[in-house]
């Protein structure tokens, strides 16, 4: 046995064990900050990720142009028709349009949340596991990104939370990941619950709004936003829409299935909220 192990790499196995312990201890002590080895590996491979993302995006664009040209043409015709109708509507009610414009600007995210400090970042890689849902971003600690920062789309829809940061890269645990847990509110009824990732729903790209109050009357399509409770995440970030309300297998509480509005599998650019004002 001793000879077998000596001949078959017991020394290498011991080195592997030590490396495992080193990485494990490093991860545990550094919290969400990447351990030095991971940081170096991901920093070095960041340009590769960027290049692959750029080439794949370009190839998808070419593919869509070549193989979906007819669909694009139809869509363009339909959009042209819509533009013509809209222009007609604009002509018919310029006063209403001006008011509408003002309301739109009021609703605009930057106008609404001047306290947000943003950092834009490219999505360089998507989930590499079927068991978890992650995104890799093109920016990290050098751009001021920290663990726990919220990541949103350009329309203010929540994408996830930064879970690991390196020098020029970061990993985002998306909202459908099983480790997600944050306060959520249904904006129509103000029913509060806990937004949680669920493994079974994650595979369908959805999540749960748990512990709903007994009298909550939710309907399909209700918008769910972050509550901001706990002061960890900003309030009012749009998460998704209610798809249905179900009773827990224990029969003691109800939960809603929420479909995120962010298209997690096709995001190209996102915005990291580096800072925000906590509203007491």
């Amino acid at each position: 046995m001793k000879d077998f192990l000596r001949k078959n790499g017991i020394l290498l196995l011991i080195i592997a064990l030590l490396l495992s312990i080193l990485i494990g201890v490093g991860s545990a002590f550094l919290g969400g900050n990447a351990d030095p080895l991971s940081n170096v590996a991901n920093t070095v491979t960041a340009p590769v990720r960027g290049a692959i993302a750029a080439v794949a995006d370009w190839a998808e664009g070419v593919y869509a142009y070549v193989f979906h040209y007819g669909e694009l043409q139809e869509e363009l015709d339909s959009l042209r028709k819509q533009v013509a109708e809209l222009e007609d509507a604009v002509r018919q009610g310029q006063e209403a349009s001006r008011e509408n414009e003002q309301l739109r600007s009021l609703l605009d995210l930057q106008e609404k949340r001047r306290d947000f400090v943003f950092e834009s970042a490219k999505v360089t890689a998507r989930s590499t596991y079927n068991w978890e849902s992650f995104l890799s971003l093109s920016k990290g600690s050098s751009a001021g990104i920290e663990v726990g920062d919220c990541v949103i789309t350009e329309t203010g829809v929540l994408v996830g939370v930064v879970s690991q940061v390196g020098y020029n890269w970061s990993s985002v645990s998306t909202i459908i990941n099983t480790d997600t847990e944050m306060g959520g509110i249904v904006s129509r009824t103000y029913s509060a619950g806990v937004l949680e990732g669920d493994f079974a729903l994650m595979t369908q790209g959805k999540m749960k709004l748990n512990y709903l109050p007994e009298g909550a009357q939710l309907v399909s399509g209700d918008e769910v936003v972050t509550s901001g409770k706990g002061d960890v995440f900003p309030s009012g970030l749009v998460v998704g829409q209610v798809e249905g309300v179900f009773t827990d297998p224990s029969g003691q509480s109800r939960y809603a299935v929420v479909a995120p509005l962010a298209k997690l599998d096709s995001l190209i650019e996102v915005f990291v909220i580096k800072d925000f004002t906590i509203v007491e």
């Binding site: 078959n8 196995l13 490396l19 080193l22 890689a125 079927n130 493994f199």
Partner: protein
Amino acid sequence: MTRRDLFHKWFVYSLGLLPIWLLDAYILPRYPLGGISPMLLPLAAAAVAVLEGAYAGTGFGMGVGLLWELTYPGGFGGLVFGMALAGMLMGAVSQYALSQSYPGCLICSAGVLCALDGLRLARGLLVHTAQLPDMLHVAVPEFFYSLAWTPLIWLLFRAIFNKVGGTKLA
């Protein structure tokens, strides 16, 4: 075999691993099949362990585990040891019980995929992150979809083995 030959041999094996890693980490996850993307790195470790035996399998497995831990999100270090151990076992099994052929590689690949998914299922059940049927719904297609890549990975490493494998450079 001189140190230079050894370096040359493992450099070529590392080059062989490069496209598999790029596919596994950055390309295939963009185009999941039925929501599932395959695991290619364990298959690479299996192919090299079957071709080169237990000692080299341990080293290559350790390298694969290190790559997995360092460049993929999450992880706690266990894959370095786990893949090294898997490389050693697969190499030994192919040397002493199976043959250094494609069927041997297929059996070892199935074994390592089963072990990885089995550990994930066990972890999921222990920490109550999910129900068994839900996890099987992911694990089973992942297993078969990953296994479908075995021929390609075997052919790649078989070609490398034919050029620089064993003691050919000596």
